[in-house]
């Protein structure tokens, strides 16, 4: 078991180093690292001096090493737009995205599981067919369109929910780092539409996944054996079949975290949500290379960590994986 965890962790570190390399190459080749620090009106001599001081004339590997060291300590450079350390900027924008993703994840779990199980157990009812029909529709609607349509219906036409922004937030730690929208009614109202949009793109996927996995599991010998043992249908479906279905679904979920992140960029744009995605786009539009790069590194790290954790978690609950250490 330990060997398994170790191996996965090493793999993760390797991937992160590679990503760091890519990020750093981008940074050193595009854009001007001095710009955020000084401004426009600077003489060539002063620039050269700055360059020397910052060690910009050192060989590539040395600069890369410095970059990694700094990154490991949390220093990812200075943002051109905000004139503050990138790490700080990202940390301040992160909670908004996290709350969004969390809300969407809740919706996904609580909706896709029952619907997926139901359509697997009773595939021919009208309700099942409707659900599957909706899911095909859902997969065909890009996330930003869902957002726009939700805004149009609920905000513009019906006026029930707000159409942009986070609403009233509460400063959780008193230092401006975590402004949570989940503690006020207004904040929650603002969360509803964006979370629904974000969830909408993944929901159909999960319903179908759970349904198809469960249908496969229901055909296995051991489920047939459970029937022969005379176990109650509830137990067979909700304990046996469910656990066997859950395992592959969890792996997929882990893989999908990355896609969720990508979709937050779209959702945050539609709802003017001041999260990391929004920040990323700003960085792109205003050519803030350092921030862009920092974003890349952070997201990649989170991503790799989540994947590794999911792998390890999977190994914990699926006993057959532990012994061989492979899938």
């Amino acid at each position: 078991m330990f060997a398994f965890i170790l191996r996965r962790a090493l793999q993760a570190v390797l991937v992160m180093l590679v990503i760091g390399l890519i990020g750093f190459s981008i940074q050193s080749n595009i854009g001007d690292p001095i710009r955020p620090l000084v401004g426009e009106r600077v003489t060539p001599e002063e620039r050269a001096e700055m360059a020397e001081k910052l060690g910009l004339n050192d060989p590539f590997l040395v600069q890369y090493g410095r970059f990694i060291k700094n990154a490991a300590q949390g220093d990812l450079g200075i943002s051109f737009i905000y004139k503050k350390p990138c790490t700080e900027v990202i940390l301040k924008h992160a909670p908004a995205t996290l709350e969004l993703v969390f809300g969407a994840a809740l919706i996904i779990v609580f909706v896709s599981l029952p619907l997926g199980i139901y359509t697997a157990l009773k595939p021919r009812t009208i309700l099942s067919k409707c659900i599957m029909g909706f899911s095909t529709l859902g997969v065909s609607i890009p996330v930003f369109l869902t957002g726009i349509m939700l805004i149009y219906i609920f905000a513009v036409t019906l006026g029930w929910l707000p159409s942009y922004g986070r609403g009233e937030t509460v400063d959780l730690f008193g230092n401006g780092y975590w402004n949570s929208g989940m503690l006020t009614i207004d904040g929650i109202k603002h969360l509803i539409l964006p979370c629904l949009s974000l969830a909408s793109i993944m929901l159909p996927l999960y319903i179908r996944l759970i349904r198809s996995e469960m249908m496969e599991v229901l055909e296995t010998e051991y489920i047939k054996y459970s029937w022969a043992k005379g176990l109650s249908p509830m137990r067979i479906w909700l304990v046996h079949a469910f656990k066997n279905t859950l395992l592959p679904v969890i792996t997929v979920f882990g893989l999908q975290i990355g896609i969720m992140f990508a979709f937050t960029i779209l959702t945050e744009t539609v709802f003017q949500w001041q999260g990391m995605g929004f920040m990323f786009l700003e960085a792109v539009q205003r050519a803030d290379i350092a921030l862009l790069n920092a974003y890349l590194v952070v997201v990649a790290t989170v991503f790799v960590m989540v994947n590794t954790l999911v792998d390890i978690f999977y190994g914990l609950i699926n006993p057959t994986v532990r012994i061989t250490g492979t899938k």
Partner: protein
Amino acid sequence: MAHLLEIHDLDVQFALRNGSITALKDINLTLEKGEKLGLVGESGAGKSVTGFAIINLISKPGYISKGRITFDGEEISALSDEKMRRIRGDKITMIFQDPMMTLNPVFKIGTQMIETLQAHRKISKSDARKIALDKLRKVQIPSPEQRLQQYPHELSGGMRQRIIIAIALLTDPSLIIADEPTTALDVTIQAEIMDLLQELCESDNMSLILITHDLAVVSQVTEKIVVMYAGKIIESGLTHEVIANPQHPYTTGLIKSIPGIIKPGEKLEQIPGMMPTLTKIPPGCAFNPRCNLREDICVKVTPELEEKAAGRLVACHMVKGK
């Protein structure tokens, strides 16, 4: 005296996209308490379907289209799902072929055993655990406490099958249906498992239906034998009599192809051709294309299962009765 199990004129059909296929036709058999019956035939002959039909667990799209099954005086073929569930796994238990595929890989052995007991009895977990340990010892598994905590893939094939047998014994059933219990096991283990099964049935006076294509095993373990071909019974009688003196040409061919029964030096014979698939059953006697006794009538008229000697039923035109 009422039989323990009686299958009466059973037909099973499979409903497919373009029509129905008959998988079983006119199956009749009886079983007494403590009796061991062998259900023999090639793959596809319908033996497993018969086994599943008894506990009404035929895979969709199969269904019982005709006939009646009575168990312990009660007609079970028409029971509701809920009532049938109480009999399945309780009074009638089943042993499947491949223990690796039968045990759920993500649950511990203990869980899978205890849940079976709790599904049929109001019993606490610790009491159920005691019974489980008791049965594990009965099937001669070493360190039973440890086994309860293990997962199926951590055990050998023979051990797994013993556990399946133990599970089948948990509720002290009246009838065990064993569907090819040793086919997926190593040859060396096969004999052990069969011996164990036989012992257990005899010591607890349990009935056994042994579904297999292995005539050698049947001849050692069972008292009655039923031979199936293409969904029908073609011969049935007492095991030692049928093996010593087979009447139906198919049965004769089967016996002649067993290495153990034929004396050394004699040639092993083979029945030419193959058993037809259910969609392509020849007219008349289903066996006629492969039969060396075939005559005109065999191609035109389907032979009925008739008593040709005391206690012996044969479905063949060429076999003269009393």
